[in-house]
């Protein structure tokens, strides 16, 4: 779950809802201090926008004009809580008003719409105009966790959103517009499937980590005794 890749600038998914927003603000500050044209994109859920971190981050990034793109994946649920039960607004983007930054709503299942909104926000950030909040309207197709019966999601709602699934939508668009042929799509699809199978195999065949590694990577310099 905690996908991270420092070499690609991915600081990691977080187990603490809302925590990443503050960290992203710091990454934005750093980009500014270091004089790079980097921007930090921070992804979070609708549920997380009720944490103090969301408001603190937007405010700080706004007054310091930090190059941060706050991207809310509004999938309508935080575990069992429908958005309408956890906040009294429909558009989370409205909260940008309080921090005097752009707040845009996009169809989160439309790749092109997301691209356009991101492009504009990134340009603003690079021009020193500060952060933006992009709210991507989307849906959580599955339960919150494997095995969640998700009884709180009405069947009609699920059916409606499944018909808007962004992946087939993009594929169909590309095929219909001759950007991609069916064969090319099938090739890419099986290539990705193979990659996944390969990764699973690699994980399953990898040895367990040695016990000593339990105390590695806590500090840069200190490695404690492996002692109970």
């Amino acid at each position: 779950m905690h996908i991270a890749d420092a070499t690609r600038g991915i600081l990691g998914a977080n187990g603490i809802v809302g925590a990443g927003q503050n960290i992203a603000t710091g990454a934005g500050l750093s980009a500014k201090l270091r004089g790079t044209d980097q921007v930090c994109a921070c992804f979070f859920g609708d549920g997380s926008t009720n944490q103090g971190t969301f408001h603190e981050s937007l405010n700080l990034a706004s007054i310091w004009r930090l190059p941060v793109i706050f991207v809310c994946e509004n999938n309508l649920y935080g575990i069992s809580m429908h958005q309408s039960r956890h906040q009294a607004i429909q558009d989370i983007a409205d909260r940008a008003v309080a921090y005097n930054i752009p707040g845009v709503v996009v169809d989160g299942n439309d790749v092109f719409a997301v691209y356009e909104a991101a492009k504009e926000a990134i340009e603003r950030a690079r021009n020193g105009q500060g952060p933006s909040l992009i709210e991507c309207k989307t849906y959580r197709h599955h339960g919150h966790f494997e095995g969640d019966p998700a009884k709180y999601k009405p069947a009609e709602e699920v059916a409606e959103w499944m018909s808007k699934d962004p992946i087939p939508r993009l594929i169909n668009y590309m095929i219909d517009n001759n950007i991609l042929s069916k064969e090319e799509f099938n090739d890419i699809d099986s290539q990705i499937n193979d990659e996944i199978k390969e990764a699973i195999k690699f994980a399953e065949e990898s040895p367990w980590p040695p016990i000593e590694s339990v105390v590695e990577d806590i500090y840069t310099d200190i490695v404690e005794e492996v002692k109970k």
Binding site: Q51, I79, M81, E224, V226
Partner: protein, 323 residues
Amino acid sequence: MKNLSMMEAIREAMTKKMREDPTVFIMGEDVGAFGGCFGVTAGMFDEFGAERVRDTPISEGVIIGCAVGAAATGTRPIAELMFIDFVTVGADQLVNQAAKMRYMVGGKIKLPMVVRLPLGAGTRAAAQHSQSLEAWLAHIPGLKVVYPSCPNDAYGLMLKAIEDDNPVVFLEHKILYGVRGEVDENAKPIEFGKADIKREGKDLTVAATGRMVHEALKTAEELSKDGIEIEVFDPRTLFPFDKETLFKSIEKTNKLLIVSEENKRGSFAGEISAMVAEECFDNLDAPIKRLCAVNSPVPFSPVLEDYYVPNAEDIVKAVTTMF
């Protein structure tokens, strides 16, 4: 008597109190119709409705703070956080507000509130969902810290926690939720600061909390075959702490091993050790020993996590070195 799981025992105690006292209510993330992250409040929404079993947004600060304000003004809130790890998010409200309000207003306000905190490793939930942070909480004057290890204790201690007029943090070990035991539903609430000797023995005292009580009991049989009879001391509440029962046990056994799932550095196990060293030293005929988790974040890898937490085998080894 009723055979209940730890989870059911906690639920039954809260339900009993909510039936008796209309000012008792529950709030937390997904505690309503969903029944809570681990299912502790399952069915309570059906009985008490949305006013008294309140789903909150993901906002630990205001969950705890709202309990403070509600408790200060005539209700008895029970706040549930999904994991003790998230207490950090609401820490100001617990540490600077709940624990200090009464003191700062010269005793004019009371705060009858319970904060329920599931804790502990062993669920493959990694570094941010598995910690044992009881030492932080027990460190704070103004909080009472309850840590049951079996359904009967959980039941009686929860009744007391809700009746208590002070902020109580109620620690629930996730691995123990499914552990079953006999519960006397008509029993009185269990007073805080009353430890329980979970097994009598004459040769060595093992002081343990939560899941570690069970690990200690597991080893007891094995050690008994080798002629070592350990006494298992479960404080049940970390503050107030029942020194008297612990010291009495040490007077008999002259040896103390403390087993805790905390990181060893700065652990409550260290506090127990210090109490005994200061006040009961003359009764010891071996150095006090602490067996705790490794000083690392809780690792995700199953093999590392299994190693990280003390287990029965570690206890046997530690005990053997004390003779």
